[in-house]
Symmetry: C2
Subunit: 317 residues, 2 copies
């Protein structure tokens, strides 16, 4: 390392930092030219690429006192890997941009990168490029590139008569965030779920192969993302309260905070669960729960046939 | 439009803004799924993609009082399109992330997007995805994806005996920045060069076809980027002062500011000129100027055989 352990980004310098960061990113065999040139070059055998991009801003999407640098790295990668999962795809390459104050500890950037690389390794993806620059607050910009083994599953394919199904933890991260927001650190399992989501990375491609008619990852809240499916597909969606078993830690947080524990599940958006529609119950893969129906009618979402008055998602402005 | 002309981003809301932005981005025929789903899907016929990413931060890489939103859009796109140019490639797709204060006029975001789209159209590239979110300052994150018609030109291929050559305006933007920094608006041609660089987008692929042995776009300053070539290739590079004809507007700015006008050319980095090495003078394409030699020796850059003591580039921290 060309800088001491307690160095800031300003001490480390752009090129010193980049040189350390690049060492944290192993390159897959599809990477013909990796980080360090004007651009990376990737072999593409599938005839297509699937691409998505996301921003994370300190204070808005994460807090450095609520999650370690490594946790934030995991989350930043997971959020983007999940977008490809929601198309029925799998990531092979990512780029990451880090804008940060000059007095940010260089160690934070390195631990962030280590967490980011570890999350990418879960799906065998490589970090092929990036950028670092100075800013007043930490902003993380990620772009993910991958492929689908079969036709991508879009948001607009749901039809009346389909069933709505969910896979992955849902509401746990929102519960963890509520706990942290009140200055507590337990139930620990929820706090950990917030810090490091565990998106069901295999489930997207399996759902695509099983004939999912539409799919989205839950990032704006379960009902909010169901509404995106409804609007894109021109259908109505009804979600059934009784379909959800409330996990014990959410019951505990509900009791402690006075919130309906179901509101974490219906409104939460940081677990990166997958929400999809299938032609019938028989085609829903193992590991998914049927939680609603697709109906004819004005595009929108109801809960047990009526409007839902709890928090339903996330507003970016 | 779902919001009034004087709306802020907060008034417009994330989805209102995105819906307007998407309308500004025409999609090429290689775009199988464009903006609006969890990810875009692009047809790739070349067997590979070339990828690069860059961040721009308000106050550091641009100022809203020194350039219009449309100018900033042009620059943000140009900076990234230029990275592919420097590989001998051409962009086909870009994503753009915009983090911005809630009170930013929505009009600024729309004009930025229009400039961005117009610059992309110069090379026939499509804006296929993006993200918007709130932040204390404006941060723009761009990822560019494209292809090379022949082997990518990397930084590490220069050999002793090669010649160093340059194409595109160089030093004009630095001159414009010096003018703006002193509160002036003329020479207007330099200010315009700073606001809207004109990278030589055809020159990269032509240089690759002509046998360029190494290439980089000038973004850290001419001597700084020559040093990147020297270090990556393990060679010494000597730049010849006499090779540069000083354009009249730079002479004028030098006279007004007391700066050596050559310092804008040797140290400037916002024009996105291309710097490349070729095996001999005969292989240098039309439109390029030979400005130096590649020599054996310790990796580094000299000017007329000696050290250069002017400003040589850009430090990110």
């Amino acid at each position: 390392m060309t800088f001491p352990p307690e160095a800031t980004l300003a001490d480390a310098g752009e090129f010193g930092l980049i040189s350390e960061l690049v060492g944290l990113f192993p390159q897959g065999e599809h990477v013909l030219i990796g980080p360090g040139d004007d651009a990376a070059v990737l072999r593409v055998r599938t005839g297509h690429v699937v691409v998505s991009t996301d921003l994370m801003v300190e204070g808005r999407h994460f807090r450095r006192d609520w999650a370690s640098a490594e946790d934030v790295g995991h989350r930043a990668a997971a959020q983007n890997l999940s977008d490809l999962n929601a198309m029925g795809g799998r990531a092979h390459s990512l780029t990451v941009g880090l804008a940060a104050p000059a007095d940010l500890p260089a160690r934070w950037a390195l631990e962030f990168a280590a967490g980011f690389a570890a999350e990418c390794a879960l799906v065998g993806a490589s970090v092929v490029g990036g950028d670092v620059t100075r800013a007043d607050e930490v902003v993380i910009a990620v772009t993910v590139i991958g492929a689908c083994l079969q036709a991508p599953v879009v948001r607009s394919g749901a039809e009346a008569g389909d069933v709505l199904a969910l896979t992955g933890r849902q509401g746990w991260a929102a519960g963890g965030l509520a706990v942290l927001g009140r200055g507590f650190r337990s139930p620990r399992v929820l706090v950990e779920a917030y810090r490091r989501p565990e998106p069901p990375y295999d489930a997207g491609p399996i759902a695509a192969a099983a004939g999912a008619t539409s799919m989205i990852d839950v990032s704006d809240g379960l009902l909010g993302d169901a509404a995106h499916l409804a609007e894109a597909s021109g259908v109505a969606i009804d979600v059934h309260r009784a379909a959800f078993e409330i996990p014990e830690p959410l019951v505990a947080v509900g009791a402690a905070t006075g919130a309906d524990p179901l509101s974490f599940i219906l409104g939460g958006g940081d677990d990166h669960a997958l929400l999809a529609t299938f032609p019938d119950v028989a085609s829903v893969p193992d590991g998914w729960s049927v939680i609603g129906d697709v109906l004819e009618g004005a595009p929108g979402v109801t809960v047990d046939g009526g409007p839902y008055d709890g928090p339903t998602g996330w507003t970016h402005f």
